[in-house]
Amino acid sequence: MRQPWHAQKHSFYQFGAEFRRFSLERSKPGKFEEFYGLLQHVHKIPNVDVLVGYTDIHGDLLPINNDDNYHKAVSTANPLLRIFIQRKEDADYSAFGTDTMTRKKNVLSNVLRPDNHKKKPHIVISMPQDFRPVSSIIDVDILPETHRRVRLYKYGTDKPLGFYIRDGSSVRVTPHGLEKVPGIFISRLVPGGLAQSTGLLAVNDEVLEVNGIEVSGKSLDQVTDMMIANSRNLIITVRPANQRNNVVRNSRTSGSSGQSTESSLPSSTPNILGNLLQGEEESDEEDIIIEDSGEPQQIPKAAPTSASIESLSQIELLHESTQNGFLPSSEVNLNHSAGSISMEYEVPEPGRKSLEEDGTIITL
């Protein structure tokens, strides 16, 4: 497919942000270096170091910093590829990652208003090289060492979750001595599945919590339903059958020095309730609406009444631009945001097929 891409330009030098639209050939994207050069050329910033990121089909902001992820980015353009460029010295590294685009504080406002951002910039250890995390161990600081809280990011991978659970019983220490209590255990891992590929879950691990909710007293079917309902962002707390690979922490003995709560993991939460609430928000995949047999689009959140007009208009901007390609955005009152440049690229799609494949749209 060789089609020229539309190119469109909007300049907002008065706000320190600018929008450009231009076309690339999907079949011949070229190398990352060339693309980087092209960006610098288009924006007339030849000597500025920038961070390049793009939003993928799930609304995640992911980095472009090598040929591989550049090619991946172009291939997922749908049909528009939205690229965000930030000056390296202003960059907010924490903006990258899963669900970043759908968080309440959406990434656009993060990018456009870095000085309003509440969090202190994280210490950059290294640039994330991978496209997105598949799994992580979280809440290491607040859990007993015998437990492990695993987060599986089903969202965005083709792999099946790939595990089975069963009923069983485990021995607990109770006020009446040792007692056998019913529990839920992982009974099987599907080869090649997400659960197996993480290496964090194993057969006979006892499941203690699902997304912050204790499973004790719940039936196997209930726990199954809970896991499936949370499958987009599944957080399971297990007691591993093999206790030899546990994370050993020193900070625990030193008391609540505050050091232990300072986790480098972006999704760490101070307590279970917080985790639950966060899980609730973050797992929110947006439903899709098709109006008048038009294009499918994500259903936005209704603006909370307490929100400022500014944030309202920003949400509106994000929504409208995904809906209709580009609206003249000049009426949008963007905040002063230094050195942030946003560009959107439209990639003509080869057909409906790709829409069906990603499973987000029902066939008409």
Binding site: K154, P160, L161, G162, F163, Y164, I165, R166, D167, G168, S187, R188, V210, N211, I213, K218, S219, L220, D221, Q222, V223, T224, D225, M226, M227, I228, A229, N230, S231, R232, L273, L277, E280, S283, E285, E286, D287, I288, I289, I290, E291, D292, S293, P296, I299, P300, K301, A302, A303, G359, T360, I361, I362, T363
Partner: protein, 1025 residues
């Protein structure tokens, strides 16, 4: 911040919740599952039924019912009322005896278990020594005689259950008085029957299983007479005067014996085998009832010729030359006779035969010619054909109610006009607050209309959809068509008929509009019928249309059942709901959702393939929409693809399925070691996110009509919403022409929105909330001034309920506003959801709308609108009881019904305000001696006829009030006037005719009272003599 605003932290709301919500299981409607024993108290005119699960239920006058449950959950084998006492003794299959009594508590009677007792033999004796086989409560009310398998008869003191060992009647004592040449120890094994002499209370008749019958004198402790039967004994019955008794035997014979003072070993007077000469089955129970005119009634169970009619469940009534063998639809558990006269009278004069069969209760009027059946006001056999769906309509307008009753009364002409003979106790529950209808759809294509307003679930009207179709049902397959001179003279009675001739006729969805009288009914083979209420018989052609839901999808073949064939030409319909439109879906899959809008004259229907909209005014299909996913082969081929023939084999296979269901139930009941088996092979569950490729995603779960803002916020328009199993919601914008051009312009529809829920759970409910966040009213509700018109100023909201989440979206621009993720947090899924109105029990002016939700765990939750906060949760149904959960139906006012067995609905209430539960009183005489009982009986009777628990002053006022009401009714309602006249003239007013609005109900009660006074038949129960 958010976590502090959660419900449960607001004390004002907590207090309000207590005023609004309360969970109660109030009453069980229908017929007890697996009845096992029957008892009757002629004194209190109360009937008791025991079941295999250990429940015991007492029934009297309509509305008078009590329930008790044995802790053991064992089968109730026998029930015996203590003569003239509000007490009864039950015998369970674990050989335990239980004493129950009715006691008054806070102005109403309650059934309580008083004592329990298990007969213990001397140490080392075999269990058979104390295995109770016969129970006789003595008329002195002080002792109980217990016949055992060993032949011993133990005497037990009441109510303490103390064994009076010195009074035990041992086989040895009996044999002493009997010549040894024709009797030995073995003759006295197993006591089959114990009967007290009707006149001389110190004599009892003892029947042993091997045929020996002994008349025992309790005072002298000796046998006065003995009778030698040649056959195995089944049962005994005294003639009223005590001069003769009758015995029945296992060979199908019965024998009359004289009891004279001189002859110690009388010979039988007469030995008859009523259905001989070929071998017959046993006669297990027999009654001999004398009458004034001399000809006795002999009523017995069984005795049919073994070879040809051995499988019949019969009870024969012989009265002079009249003889009928009533042929029951299921096994006869037990039966009793209701006498019309008082116990002290010379003759019994049987009035009614009450038969408890395994699946229904049948009462036969023995007073009227032809012995017709009496229509029971309760204990209805809900399952006479299996229930396939139910629909509840609250607050029926009086007009529609009367029309349904009148249509139903035309169907009941073959019933006896005898008033219900079991009329003990007094119903003191307040009149039901409104008229409610419960509609049940059945497997045989019928819809039954039940009066669900009060405690008695009463059949009003039965609608059959079968006439519209050509079926394989063989008209000659009628067991009633026996010739005049057939022998035995069998007559089929009862309505229980679980075998459907064609399962395609089964009713799946019902929707009744209570304002217009339009009824839509949809069935298993994709048929949708729209009906209208007509008070007259009519013959007309049913308009027929086909809806091709697959449209241009190609290459698919439906392998399921064929569509039903329709009758050509006009069809005759009886008065009632008459179909005028038939839409058949193609492929003919089960209709899974149905909605009717009587104002727009539209009906929407959905199957697993898609949904359609039909204009029943113009009789035109408006549109169809296919919801199928191309990969969903299963839905295309149909669930019955493996069934080759649906014809003759069906009846057989259905029988098989039922049998296996019964046996599996039994197995489950007895399984104590099933958990160990589970341990060996652990159950696994796969954890996998749902994908769009799952089966049956196109299955249409819910359809909803709404007049709302679909396209823009300035203009509202009619719309149709559909939700599928795959989590998709479709919204169609409808253009309905104004009333004056309704016939000229077509209804148009255009798809406006399609929402895909990303969690892909089945959509089970769609609702639009108006500007005040109130659910939109039902069609025609506003036109009838029964609801405020919806707020069209403020912005509307859309509530989508999936099995996993509740979501509120704004309209017309769909953006998500609120949600409650039920499954993610609780692990439970929504099975049923309805909007219910809850009123406060403290103040009359406060009420609110909430969602009543039933989950797959059997929990009931109440969720507030529009903020979706969980208010309260109650465990209601066991989570293993899948059919119970599937059958649950909520009412608009926070009540609900679910099936606890194929034949019983449990009624529950979530509201503090609307509570329908039995509240009744049975007056218990306090004194013990016989004379006193009779006196207090008189008092009871007279008091009762005026209304219980009231001082004479109150009473007078009550009478005056109802008198006024009656006058009022007389002036206003000609029909009622006629009714009263006919009632007074005939003395047999059929209550069915009388419209039962609260006002008219008072009236009808009053009429009954008047009748009783005037004719003195029942209520002044002849104690006055």
């Amino acid at each position: 911040m958010r976590r502090f605003l959660r419900p449960g932290h607001d004390p004002v709301r907590e207090r309000l919740k207590r005023d609004l919500f309360q969970f109660n299981k109030t009453v069980e409607h229908g017929f007890p599952h697996q009845p096992s024993a029957l008892g009757y108290s002629p004194f209190f005119r109360l009937m008791a039924i025991g079941t295999r699960s250990g429940a015991i239920k007492l029934y009297g006058a309509p509305g008078v019912e009590f329930m008790g449950l044995h802790e053991e959950n064992n089968t109730v084998m026998q029930i015996h009322f203590i003569p003239d006492q509000c007490q009864l003794v039950t015998l369970l299959d674990d050989n335990s005896l239980h004493l129950w009594s009715l006691k008054q508590h806070k102005g109403a009677s309650e059934l309580h278990e008083e004592h329990r007792f298990t007969l213990k033999g001397p140490p080392g004796s075999p269990p058979s020594a104390t295995q109770v086989t016969a129970v006789l409560p003595h008329s002195s009310r002080e002792v109980l005689y217990l016949g055992t398998e060993s032949g011993n008869i133990f005497v037990v003191e009441l109510p303490s259950f103390r064994v009076l060992e010195d009074r035990t009647i041992t086989p040895e004592a009996v044999l002493q008085r009997i010549p040894e040449d024709n009797c030995n120890r073995r003759s006295c094994e197993l006591v089959e029957a114990l009967r007290e002499h009707p006149k001389n209370h110190s004599q009892i008749l003892i029947g042993y299983s091997r045929g020996l019958i002994v008349l025992w004198d309790l005072q002298n402790n000796k046998a006065t007479h003995h009778f030698l039967g040649s056959q195995q004994l089944e049962n005994l019955y005294w003639q009223r005067d005590g001069s003769k008794f009758i015995s029945c035997h296992s060979d199908g014979s019965y024998t009359q014996w004289p009891v004279s003072s001189d002859n110690r070993q009388p010979e039988p007077l007469e030995n008859t085998v009523p259905y001989g000469p070929f071998p017959c089955k046993a006669i297990s129970k027999i009654y001999w009832q004398t009458t004034k005119n001399g000809l006795p009634y002999i009523i017995f169970q069984g005795g049919m010729p073994r070879a040809s009619y051995g499988d019949r469940h019969s009870i024969s009534v012989i009265h002079g030359s009249q003889q009928t063998a009533f042929d029951f639809t299921s096994r006869v558990i037990d039966f009793f006779i209701i006498f019309s006269s008082d116990p002290a009278a010379e003759f019994e004069d049987p009035a009614a035969l009450v038969v408890l069969a395994e699946e229904e209760l049948v009462v036969i009027d023995l007073k009227s010619a032809g012995w017709p059946a009496v229509h029971p006001p309760y204990l209805a056999s809900l399952h006479c054909s299996a229930i396939t769906c139910s629909h509840h309509v609250s607050n029926i307008p009086l007009k529609l109610w009367e029309r349904i009753i009148s249509a139903g009364s035309k169907q009941n002409i073959h019933y006896s006009s005898m008033p219900w003979p079991i009329d003990g106790g007094t119903n003191i529950a307040p009149d039901p607050p409104q008229r409610d209808l419960l509609l049940t759809g059945h497997e045989d294509g019928t819809v039954r209309f039940w009066d669900a307003s009060g405690v008695c679930l009463h059949l009003l009207y039965k609608l059959s959809t079968v006439r519209v179709f050509l079926t394989d049902a063989d008209p000659n397959d009628n067991m009633n068509t026996l010739g005049e001179d057939e022998w035995p003279p069998l007559r089929k009675v009862g309505t229980f008929d679980p075998y459907s001739d064609d399962p395609r006729l089964g009713i799946q969805k019902i929707y009744l509009c209570k304002y217009s009288g339009y009824l839509a009914v949809a069935g298993t083979a994709g048929q949708v019928l729209v009906m209208e209420l007509n008070d007259e018989d009519a013959e007309h052609v049913v308009d027929h249309a086909e809806a091709d839901l697959l449209q241009d999808q190609e290459g698919y073949r439906w392998k399921g059942h064929e569509k039903l064939k329709t009758r050509d030409g006009p069809v005759r319909f009886e008065a009632g709901f008459q179909p005028f439109v038939l839409v058949q879906c193609h492929p003919p899959a089960v209709v899974t959702s149905l909605a009717l809008h009587s104002e727009w004259k539209l009906v929407a229907f959905g199957t697993s393939h898609g949904f359609g909209l039909f204009d029943h005014q113009q009789k035109r299909l408006v549109f169809v929409k296919c919801t199928l996913h191309p990969s969903d082969q299963l839905a295309l081929e149909g669930p019955l693809s493996r069934v080759k023939s649906l014809k003759k084999s069906l009846r057989q296979s259905f029988r098989r399925i039922r049998r296996s269901r019964v046996s599996s139930r039994k197995r489950r009941g007895g399984g104590g070691n099933s958990s160990e088996e589970m341990e060996l092979a652990p159950v696994q569950r796969k954890i996998e996110a749902r994908s769009a490729e799952d089966s049956f995603t196109g299955f249409v779960r819910t359809l909803y009509f709404a007049d709302t803002f679909l396209r823009d916020s300035s203009r509202h328009c009619p719309s149709l919403w559909a939700g599928t199993n795959g989590g998709t919601v479709y919204a169609f914008c409808l253009r309905v022409p104004p009333a004056e051009r309704r016939m000229d312009e077509p209804v148009r529809a255009e798809q406006a929105k399609e929402i895909q829920l990303m969690h892909r759970a089945p959509v089970v409910g769609i609702l639009v909330l108006d500007g005040r966040s109130t659910p939109l009213p039902e069609p025609l509700e506003v036109a009838h001034d029964l609801s405020k018109s919806p707020d069209m100023q403020g912005s509307h909201q859309l509530l989508v309920v999936s099995e996993e989440q509740f979501k509120v979206f704004t309209l017309p621009k769909v953006s998500s506003k609120l949600k409650l993720k039920l499954t993610a947090l609780e692990g439970c899924r929504v099975r049923k959801v309805t909007v219910a109105n809850f009123g406060s029990c403290k103040t009359d002016d406060y009420s609110e709308n909430d969602l009543a939700v039933l989950t797959n765990l059997g929990d009931i939750q109440i969720i507030s609108l529009p903020f979706l906060k969980l208010q309260i949760r109650y465990p209601c149904i066991r989570k293993e009881d899948v059919s119970g959960i599937a059958s649950c139906v909520f009412t608009k006012y926070g009540q609900g019904f679910y099936l606890i067995s194929p034949s019983e609905f449990e009624r529950f209430s979530l509201s503090t305000k609307w509570l329908v539960e039995p509240r009744c009183i049975v007056d218990v005489p306090e004194v013990t001696s016989n004379n006193h009982v009779h006196k207090s009986g008189t008092e009871n009777a007279t008091r009762k006829s005026r209304g219980p628990g009231k001082t004479p002053g109150d009473c007078g006022e009550d009478e005056r009030k109802s008198g006024r009401l009656m006058e009022h009714a007389l002036l206003n309602d000609e029909k009622v006037l006629k009714e009263i006249q006919s009632t007074l003239e005939g003395g047999r007013g059929r209550r069915d005719h009388i419209p039962t609005s609260p006002r008219n109900r008072t009236l009808s009660i009053r009429i009954q009272k008047l009748c009783r006074k005037k004719f003195g038949k029942k209520s002044v129960r002849t104690w006055t003599k």
